[in-house]
Each structure stands twice: as C-alpha cells, then as structure tokens.
Amino acid sequence: MKKKWLIGVLLMVLVMSVSGCKKDDQVVLNVYNWGDYIDESIFDTFEEETGIKVNYETYATNEEMYTKIKNGGSNYDIAIPSDYMIEKMIKEDMLEPLNMDSIPNFANIDDQFKDLAFDPQNKYSIPYFWGTVGIIYNTDLIEEEIDSWDALWNPKYAGMFTMVDSQRDSIMVALKKLGYSMNTKSVAELEEAKALLIEQKPLVLAYVGDNVKDMLISGEAAMAVVWSGEASTVIQEYDNFKYALPKEGSNKWFDNIVIPKGSEHVAEAHQFIDFLCRGDIGFLNADYVGYATCNTETMELLDPALMGTTYAYPDKALLENFEVFLDPGDFISEYDRVWTEIKAN
C-alpha cells in the first residue's frame, strides 16, 4: 500500500521535472549576476520586445562566478564581474570580444568610465555600476566628523565598528592608511599592513561578510567599512547615517557586463547588453539596486538630490587617491598568507 503511494509520488515528481525543463525553439539567454543586482522585471520587458527569454542565476562573489565559468559545463551568455576579475578573465582568454556596432547605446556611457586600465578600449566589457569603499557611521553614536581611516585605529571606538571579511578589501584599508598602493606587490609593504591590522584586531567588533546593514540599523555597530551602494540604501532609509570617503584614498570599483566564451547566443547577448545600456532600463536598475550608474541618460532621470552625495555620485576631487583593484596574479598567495596570519592570531 505504502509503497505504491511512494512510487506514485516519485513518478509524478519525475514527470514534473521532465516537463519543467522542456525545450522549444525560443532562444534562452543565460544571465549570471550578483544576487539582487538587477530589477528582474526588465526580463519580461526584454522578452516582450525581442522574444528572447532570460534564464537568471546569481552568485555572491567574483571568485565563485569565475570558478564556475572557468570549469565549463554550463553556458552563460552574460556575466557581470568586477574590474580585477575582468582583467584576469581577459588574461585567461575567457571573454568574448564585443562588437560595438551592435551596441549603439554604448554612447550613453559616461566617458570617464570608458577605456579603464583593466579593459583598455572596452574590448570586452561595458560599465554597469560603479562605486567606492568607505566608512559609514551613525551620527547618533559618533559625534566627530569622520574623514580618515585613522578612525578605525582610534581606541575610543573599540568594539564599535566592523571591517570587511575579505582579504583584499581589509588589507587595502591598511595599505591606504600607510600611503601605499592597494595593488602593491611588495612583501615589505604587506608586512607593514599586516602589523597594522593585527594591532587593530582587538578594536574590531567583527569582520563582516554580509548583512552589515542590519548591524548598523540595529545599533550593534556604530561604524563600518562598506561598499557605497550599501551606504546609499541605509542612508536613504535612515537619516542618522553618514558616508565618508577617506582622504588617504580607497577602492573605486566597477562592475562591467561581459560575454563569457562558450556562449551559444553571442548575437542575442549583444542585444541584451544594448538593452541594459538604454537610459530607461538603466534607470529601473539604478533605482532598484541603489548603486551609481555609469550611464549619462540614466543619470538625467535620477533624483538630482543624489548628485554630489558621497555615497552615490561624489565630487571628483574627493576621489583623488582612489584606485581600482588590479589582478595580482600569483601574488595573491602572499595576500592570503598575510590574511591567514592576521586571522589566526
């Protein structure tokens, strides 16, 4: 009796699974993106306009995405890696060169975001969002104006702030405070940064990988090293927070759209990229995600109050010492060693 029931369920489930993945002639584009980093309603718009269906999947880190694409077995047509990862993927011949003739909306992209060091002449990638890394702080709990990484070494704030639980981002903070480049390949400079971070460790409340927003809002942490987009969402909801761009400089990052090699729908992928570069679509995404767009047409649609804020579209003068991450190649193992030694202590 029982067994028949079981077999029945199993059959049903199998039938469901087969019918669930049935294929027809429609072109399906596999889009691979950071979690919660696009307004998903635009997929429907895209399908209505072009008849191309979007199959959407997400990842949490550049490295996870890289490992999956590198090892084949699934064909992603669109991915959105960050600067240093794009450089690495170009080096390893993992990206499809773009044909700008099929992306007329590339003209919408602000010139200051074109032709960057990690992808000269935008041969392989088109800017999507950009931002900075800085310090967000709760003005109810921290009275002074923060403008420097020094605040994170100030004993006054012991147990009140969080660092980023990521080797390159945390080491970047120390390197910048020391006045070095965050792309340094000098072991001596790294060692100095390590000493500084070990010195800081007793003051740190936590090294946070995610969910830092909740910690700030609940008042658990008064200050945190965050990505500008996170700061932007917190500040727009709660007005007792401020975002500071440290004067020693910090990380300026870009997430660009690419087509990984192995894509079976390169032409359709171009169509999709062009669609993303449209002003109105860019607006939907920028509005939903809250990060800073690279698109001039989108910028005109946005709330003018955002312009000039530290967390969205800061004054260029404030970004003087800011750098973009480069792929360190094999030198990454030195960063890893330093980080392990900091964390093992």
């Binding site: 740190v204 409340l205 936590a206 609940s218 890893d336 980080w339 392990t340 093992a344």
Partner: protein, 276 residues
C-alpha cells in the same frame, strides 16, 4: 544472495561519486600548480607551519566542544522522545527537524537578532531589571550556533536506537536491585552506543569543517580550517593546497573515529562493563 546484492548499487555509486572524486583531490594534494602532474609533498609540508596548525587546533577544539554539548543535551531528549506515547512520538520527532528546513542563513541571522546588543534577549533581561549583556561575538555564541544546527543529528540516531530497546533487560536489572543510575550506566547507555557513535559522527565531522557559523556569530575574528580550505579553492585558486588540507583533516578524523569505533564495539561486546 540478497545480502550481497543489496549493497551492490552503493558500492558502484560510491566508487563513481565518492572514490573517483577523492582520487582527484588526492592527486591535487600531491602536486603543485603547473602544466604537467609532478609529485610533490610541498603542500603537506606547508601545512606544518605553526600558523596553520593553530587554525587546525582551534577548529578541532570547537568541534569537540560542540559535539560534547550536543551529546549532553541531546541524549536526555532522545530518551524522552523514545519513551513518549506512540501517538505523539512521530510528530515530536518531526517537530525536532522541521526548524532545520528553513534556510540556515536565515536561522543564523535570526539568532543574531535575538542575541545582539539591542536584541530580543537583552530586552527580556532589561524587562526583568537585569543588566544587559553581550552575547554575540563570543565563543559561547559559536557553540550555541553549532549546537542549534547539529542537535537534531545527535538526537535522531540515539532516539532510533532507544526505541524498541529490549525493556526486559532494564527490568531485569532493576529486579536485581540496580538503581536508576546503575541501570543507565550499565545497561541503557552501552546498548545505545551504536546510535551515539552515529550521532557523534554526524555532528563532529561536519562541525570540524564548518565555518559560516563562526564567521557570523564570532564576527569572523578567527579563522577555522573550513575558511582556510574555502579560501584556497576560491580566493587564491590554489586547489592543490586546499586539497592537501582537506586530505589531512580527513585522514586525521578517520583514524580518530576508527579508534573510537573500536572502543565502542568492545564496549558493546563486553556489556559495557569496563571502559565506562
């Protein structure tokens, strides 16, 4: 015939999906990055550096603590479940697992909402006029998280062994004048050892290599061996060193477990008289 046939599929299965992949990991662990395979012990030598051994020691220590607490908390629970009226038993067992069907990350964040500085627990404390306390970002919080996530894996196997345990044995012991404690020590516990061993395996083994719990509840203050392995595979992209660490971890634990198993079997065979 049936005896031999019945595990046949699993022999085949485990060869393809366990042995072959682990061979790959072994091959990685004995080679260095480069085009061709070249035998090397470098990865293992590298792990012998004090900084890595410290990470390993800390992971093992936390896992042992979590396992012991799970056992201490879970055993009585398993006994209570096993002696429940049949009518409520199934639902009680189900209720034990159902929380685990909610996503792990969500549950851990919920714990953070309970434990944080302005969290629910502190609100309750201040309601009773007690001083506020810091719960988060301590080893206690990590242990709580581990016990929370692994407790059902300890309770279930012990519970299944305790149900239908031969009650006549216990009664016989009681008739012979043994008090409750002696009965437990000399009869119930030794007879439940296979379940305890299963439970310990299911808690300890995953606990050694987990790290998300400590990242969240200890605020990533310390590195555990799971972090180290994850970092090698994802961040540094050095699969070779990552493989070596996990191979060492595995061999170490398998040896420990087989010693424990032997002790456990001896315990059962001798009626549990000597080792406990």
């Amino acid at each position: 015939m049936l005896k031999k046939l019945s595990s046949g599929p699993y022999w085949l299965w485990s060869f393809i999906f366990i042995v072959v992949p682990i061979m790959l990991i072994i091959a990685f662990s004995f080679s260095v990055p480069g085009e061709a395979f070249k035998f090397s012990l470098d990865n293992y030598k590298r792990f012998m550096e004090p900084v890595y051994l410290k990470v390993l020691a800390r992971s093992v220590k936390i896992a042992v603590e979590a396992t012991l607490i799970c056992l201490a908390v879970g055993y009585p629970m398993a006994m209570i479940l096993a002696r429940m009226h049949l009518k409520y038993r199934t639902i009680a067992v189900m209720l034990l697992v159902v929380p685990m069907w909610m996503n792990f990350l969500l549950r851990t964040y919920a714990w953070m909402t309970i434990l944080n500085k302005n969290g629910i627990l502190n609100h309750i404390l201040s309601f009773f006029g007690l001083p506020q306390m810091t719960f988060l970002y301590s080893e206690g919080a990590v242990l709580l998280g581990m016990v929370y996530n692994f407790l059902p894996f300890m309770v279930l196997p012990i519970y299944t062994v305790l149900t239908k345990m031969d009650n006549s044995l216990i009664e016989a012991a009681e008739d012979l004048g043994a008090n409750r404690r002696t009965v437990f020590r000399k009869v119930t516990f030794p007879l439940s050892l296979p379940g305890v061993l299963s439970g310990v395996s299911m808690v300890f083994m995953p606990a050694v290599s987990t790290f998300v719990i400590s990242d969240l509840l200890y605020g990533g203050q310390y590195m555990l061996v799971g972090n180290l392995i994850q970092q090698q595979f994802l961040v540094v992209n050095d699969w070779h060193f990552g493989s070596a660490i996990s191979m060492l971890l595995m061999v170490m634990i398998l040896i420990t477990m087989s010693i424990m198993n032997r002790l456990g079997q001896d315990g059962v065979e001798q009626g549990g008289g000597n080792i406990w």
